[in-house]
Symmetry: C2
C-alpha cells in the first residue's frame, strides 16, 4: 500500500526546490521517500527512505520538547505562545501584548526554544540537542557541515528576527551563540525513515518504539502534538486539519514528520515545495495515507464500538478446586451471583465508566470480580472511578475482588478501599465460590474426617460394595508441602482424602515454575486416572495442609476385580459418572469462554 | 466527578454576561450546568443542566453539517473556507483571494452556511434547520421568540456582514431572508444536556446515541469536527488545543458543545463570558474534565497498547466433533499447524496491519483461521489488508479461513480471494481439523462400517467381553434429519455408530433455535451418559446423514450386570477412560481460552 501511494504521488512534478539557503538547491528534485513506523517498532519503507537531508524546521517540535523538559510547561509558556498565526514562518513579529513569539513552529519561537535548552556554550547546548534528536530517531544523528555553513552565511533574516526579539525582551543571551545553535540544529542530517521513528516516538508517549529509550517524558507529548496540529504546516493549518487531520511538521528541505498519537509515525521526504513551503509530494502522500488508512484524528466514520468488556458468571466458569456434588449443585444454582467482569483493553476513563455502570446496575451480582489481568496501564481518571466503585459497593455491603498484577498500583488503591486482590482468575473464583458456599454459615474447622460413603468418587455405590473396599484401604498422613507422588512415577494407587487438601501441579517448560491444575480437598479423590490406564503419573500432587488419605493399591484393585467383579463394576460406574459430571461442567465453561 | 468539577468551577465569578443582544442580559449570571453523554446513550448531568438558553453560535457546526449534507464537500468548500483567523468572530471580512468567508465558525461563514440550506422561503429553511438540530438533540427544539426579536432589532452588524459579502460575491439571495433564517437559528432554545447529546451525536459518527436517529451522514462528521477544533473557540484555538485538546464550539449566550470523536459529548452552560467571548466557567470545566478524564485528543500518556489479538492453536482448542483416539493423537501432535487469530476489537488499519504481520510471520501456521466474530465494522484500509493477506497466503499454497457474520462484507471480499467463510469457530475448527486429518489422503467414502472392536468407547475391552455384548445389540438405520431421541425422553439405550453421523443439539431459550453441542460420527457412541445415571435425555440427537447404529438397551445391560459383572466392569472402565481423555482435552482448552 505504501508503494502504491508512492507511485501515485510520484506523478506530481510541480513545485520548486527551496533555494533561499543555497546548499538546499542541490537536493535531487525527484527524490521521494516514505517511512511508516508502528508503535511495536516495525518500520515500513518505500522509495528514497534512507536518503539523507537536513532536518530544517522539522527539528522545531523536538527541540520544543527538550525546552519543555528543561523548563517545564509554565516556564516555556512564559517565553513562547501557542497561537497559530496567519503570518509567514520567517516574519519578524512577536505578540506585542505578551512580548512572546506566537508559537514554537515559526522561526522566532523556534529560536527562543533553542535558547532555552540548558547548557554552557554552543557546543554543550548543541550536543544536548543532537543527543535528544538522536534518541527520538534511535540512531546517532550527525551535522551536515555544508548546509550549516550555508545557513550561517545566509542567515540574516534569522539574525534580524533574533535581534528584534532581543529589543522586545523576548530573547535573552548572546544572539550569535543562540543562532549558531539554531543553525546547527537545522543542519542535522536525517532520512524519511528517521522522521517516521521520531514521530512514532511522540505517538508512543515519548518512548522510542524501536530502541525502547525514553526520549521525552509523556506529560509533555500532548503539548508538542498540539502545537504541531495547530501551527505545524505553515499557513495551511485549517485545511490540513480538514483534509488530513494529523499533527505534523514540515520543513523547507522537503521533510514532513506526522505523529498520530497512540497509533503510528510517518516520515516523508521530497524536496519540491508548494508556494506555502510544504513538500508537494509529501502533502499529497499524507492526504492519500490519511484517506486510505483512515487516520484522521477526528475520524468518526468507523466507531471502535463499546469498550471491550466481557461478563461471565460463576454459574458458567469455575475455579480449579474440585467440589462435591452438593457444592456443584449450589454453584450451578446460585453461581450467577458471582460475576466476573473482564477488561479486554487498557483502562481509560471511558472503559472504567462503562465498567462501573455495568457493575453497579448488575442487581444479581453479590461478588463482583474485576478481572484486569490484561490491563497494563490505567490513567488516574480510571483509577478514581474504580476505587469509587469498590467504596460504593462496600457501602452496600458487597465485596469486590480485583485480579491484577501486584505491580499495578490500581490494585493497591482498590485494596485500600476494601477490595480483595488476586493474582489470577482461579484464585479469585475459588475465593468467591468459598464465600458463596459458606454464606450464612461459620465454616466448621475442616478437621472432621469424610467417611468413605461420602466420597464423591464413590457416590451411588451400595453399602455392601463399599464394605468390600474398606478393608483394602491404607491410611496415610502427609505434612504440609509433602509430595504425595511426582510426575513420571509409576502409578500404584487411588487416593481418597479424608481430611485436609492438596494441589495437583504441573511443572513448567523451564522445570522450575509449577502450574496448579486443581485443588483437591476432603471428600475428593486423586490419582484416580491411574486406575483406568495404569501407566505413569502425569502431574505432581503435593499436600497444601496436613492431609489424611485412604489409598487403594492398584494390585488390590486387580485382585478385587477377580473376586468381586460387581464391586469393581460399581466403582468404575461411579468414576465414569463423576467424570461425566466434570466434563459437562467443563463444556459449559468452554461455551462461556468462547462467547 | 462531574459534581466535583461543577463545585470547583462554581468558584469562578469573573466575566460578564453578554449584553450586545439585549435579551441575553437577562440570563441568570450564576447559572451553571454540565451534561456528559456517552456513546451508548447514557447522560450524566449536574447543576442547571436543564435550564434553557438560546443556542447562538453553538448552532454553527450543526448548520454547517446540514449545508454539507445539502451540497456535498466540494460544493460547500467553494463557498466557505476552513482556515482559522485571528480576527474577531463578527469581523466584516472575507478572504479576498477566493471571495469566501474564512471559515463557518465566524458569523460571515455561518450566514453563508445558513443560506446554503435548501428550502423555499424562510419558513421551510428554518424548519429544516430546526428539524436537523432537533435530530441532533433527540427532542423537538423550539424558538425563543423574545431572543429572536431582540436579535432582529439589533442585528445591524450581521446585516453589514451580509451586505458586504453580497457585494464581494460571497453571498447570494435575499439578505433579509437569509438573516431571518440565521437569527432564528441562533434563537433556538437548548440546555446543557441538549448540547451534550448533540455533541455525542457528532462523536458517534452522526447517529444520535440516545434515540438512534441518524442526524448527519458519517462522511461529513470529521469535517465538522475539524473546523470546530481549529476555529471553534474564537481566537483561543491554539491555547484551547494545547490545554484542552477537544473539538468544541462556544456561543455568546454561554453555551459550549464539546465533541470527542468516538468517545463522548459534553455540553456546558454558564453565561458569564471572558474577554474572548467564551463562558468562563464553561472553559474552566472543560479544562478540568479534559485533565481529570484524560480526554485530550492528542493525549499520549496512556497507550492503549497493541491491538487486542488472541492467538490459539488447534492443539489447544478443538471442534465439537467427537474424534477417535488416533485422530485426537494427531491433533495433539500436529494441531499447532492450525492457528486461530481472534480479533477482540473492531478492525481498523492498525489492527489489520498487526494481524497481517503476525499471520505472515507465523511459520508453523498452515491453516490460518481469522476469527472476526466480534467485529462489527471494518474500514476500507483494513479490508484491503485482509484481502491482501488471503491472496498472499494463497500464492504460498496456504488456505485461510474467516469467521464472520455473513452480513460483514469483508467476509465476502475475503471469500472472493479464496478464503473459506464460516459462521462460527466450531465450524471453522472442524474444517481445519478435517483438512489436517485427511492431508495427503483421499478420504475414503465413509460407508465402511466400524466394527464393535473399533468403537472408541469400548477400546481396551477383551475380545471375550465384546463377544458377550455383541448378541445384545440392535441395529437401526436412521434417515438424514431423523430424530434418534429428544430432550426429556426416558433414556433406554446406548448407541454405537457403525456408519454415518449425527448432531447432539440443545434447544434454545425460545424453544426454536438449536445449538449444536457435538457432532458424533462412525466409531463414536452417544446416549452413553444415560447408562451411568438412567434418568432422562438432556439433549436431542438427530441424524446428519443416513446413519446405522448398534444400540444396547439398558434393560439388557442390567441383566448382563448380574450374569457377567466382569464384562460390565470392563465396559464402565472403558467409558471412564474415554471420559477422562475428553476431560483432559477440555481442561487444556479451558486453560488456552482463559489466557
Amino acid at each position: 500500500m505504501l508503494s502504491q501511494v508512492h507511485e501515485v504521488c510520484s506523478q506530481r512534478t510541480d513545485g520548486e526546490v527551496a533555494t533561499y539557503i543555497p546548499q538546499l538547491a542541490y537536493a535531487p528534485p525527484e527524490a521521494f521517500g516514505i517511512g511508516l513506523a508502528t508503535l511495536d517498532g516495525h518500520v515500513y519503507e518505500t522509495g528514497d527512505s534512507r536518503l539523507g537531508f537536513s532536518i530544517q524546521s522539522v527539528s522545531k517540535p523536538f527541540v520544543y520538547a527538550l525546552a519543555l523538559a528543561d523548563h517545564g510547561l509554565e516556564g516555556v509558556l512564559q517565553r513562547i505562545g501557542v497561537e497559530p498565526t496567519g503570518d509567514p514562518f520567517n516574519s519578524i513579529t512577536v505578540d506585542e501584548e505578551t512580548a512572546r513569539p506566537f508559537n514554537p513552529m515559526v522561526n522566532a519561537g523556534a529560536i527562543v526554544a533553542a535558547s532555552l535548552v540548558k547548557g554552557t556554550g554552543v557546543e554543550e547546548k548543541f550536543e544536548r540537542i543532537r543527543n535528544a534528536l538522536s534518541a527520538f530517531a534511535g540512531r546517532e544523528l550527525t551535522l551536515d557541515e555544508r548546509v550549516y555553513n550555508s545557513e550561517n552565511e545566509t542567515g540574516d533574516r534569522n539574525r534580524a528576527i533574533a535581534y528584534f526579539m532581543r529589543t522586545m525582551g523576548a530573547l535573552e543571551g548572546d544572539v550569535d551563540e543562540v543562532l549558531e545553535v539554531y543553525f546547527k540544529q537545522c543542519s542535522l542530517l536525517v532520512t524519511a525513515r528517521d522522521l517516521a521513528v521520531m514521530s512514532a516516538t511522540l505517538s508512543n508517549g515519548g518512548r522510542n518504539p524501536v530502541t525502547g529509550e525514553v526520549a521525552i517524558e509523556p506529560e509533555h507529548v500532548s503539548r508538542v502534538l498540539a502545537v504541531m496540529s495547530t501551527c505545524g504546516m505553515y499557513d495551511y493549518a485549517g485545511e490540513w486539519m480538514y483534509r488530513v487531520g494529523l499533527p505534523a511538521k514540515s520543513g523547507v528541505s522537503g521533510g514532513i514528520a506526522v505523529a498520530l498519537s497512540q497509533r503510528l509515525g510517518i516520515g516523508l521526504y521530497s524536496p519540491r515545495l508548494d508556494r506555502r513551503g510544504n513538500s508537494v509530494r509529501g502533502i499529497a502522500a499524507c492526504e492519500e495515507l490519511s484517506q486510505r488508512l483512515g487516520l484522521h484524528v477526528l475520524r468518526a466514520d468507523a466507531s471502535t464500538g463499546p469498550p471491550a468488556l466481557r461478563r461471565r458468571t460463576g454459574a458458567d466458569i469455575r475455579s480449579k478446586r474440585v467440589r462435591s456434588a452438593a457444592q456443584l449443585d449450589t454453584l450451578t444454582e446460585s453461581g450467577s451471583r458471582i460475576v466476573v467482569f473482564e477488561l479486554l483493553s487498557d483502562q481509560t476513563f471511558l472503559t472504567a465508566e462503562t465498567l462501573m455502570r455495568k457493575v453497579l446496575s448488575d442487581n444479581g451480582c453479590q461478588w463482583a470480580v474485576i478481572d484486569l489481568h490484561r490491563v497494563t496501564q490505567t490513567d488516574t481518571a480510571a483509577a478514581r472511578l474504580l476505587t469509587d466503585l469498590v467504596r460504593q459497593r462496600g457501602s452496600e455491603g458487597k465485596v469486590t475482588a480485583v485480579i491484577a498484577s501486584p505491580e499495578l498500583t490500581l490494585r493497591e488503591l482498590m485494596e485500600s478501599e476494601g477490595a480483595v486482590g488476586f493474582d489470577d482468575l482461579d484464585e479469585a473464583l475459588e475465593w468467591a465460590e468459598n464465600e458463596l458456599l459458606t454464606e450464612g454459615e461459620h465454616p466448621s474447622e475442616s478437621t472432621a474426617s469424610v467417611p468413605l460413603a461420602e466420597q464423591e468418587l464413590l457416590a451411588g455405590m451400595t453399602e455392601e460394595a463399599l464394605g468390600a473396599i474398606a478393608p483394602l484401604l491404607v491410611e496415610t498422613t502427609f505434612k504440609p508441602r509433602e509430595i504425595v507422588f511426582d510426575e513420571g512415577e509409576e502409578a500404584d494407587a487411588i487416593y481418597f482424602i479424608s481430611s485436609g487438601e492438596a494441589a495437583v501441579v504441573l511443572s513448567g517448560d523451564d522445570g522450575r515454575r509449577w502450574t496448579r491444575l486443581a485443588t483437591v480437598a476432603a471428600g475428593s479423590a486423586f490419582g484416580d486416572l491411574a486406575a483406568l490406564d495404569g501407566g505413569t503419573r502425569s502431574s505432581r500432587v503435593v499436600a497444601d495442609t496436613e492431609m489424611v488419605t485412604q489409598s487403594l493399591m492398584l494390585t488390590d484393585l486387580a485382585a478385587l476385580r477377580v473376586s468381586r467383579p460387581d464391586v469393581v463394576g460399581q466403582l468404575y460406574q461411579a468414576m465414569a459418572r463423576t467424570l461425566a459430571e466434570r466434563l459437562r461442567s467443563a463444556n459449559r465453561e468452554i461455551s462461556a469462554l468462547r462467547d
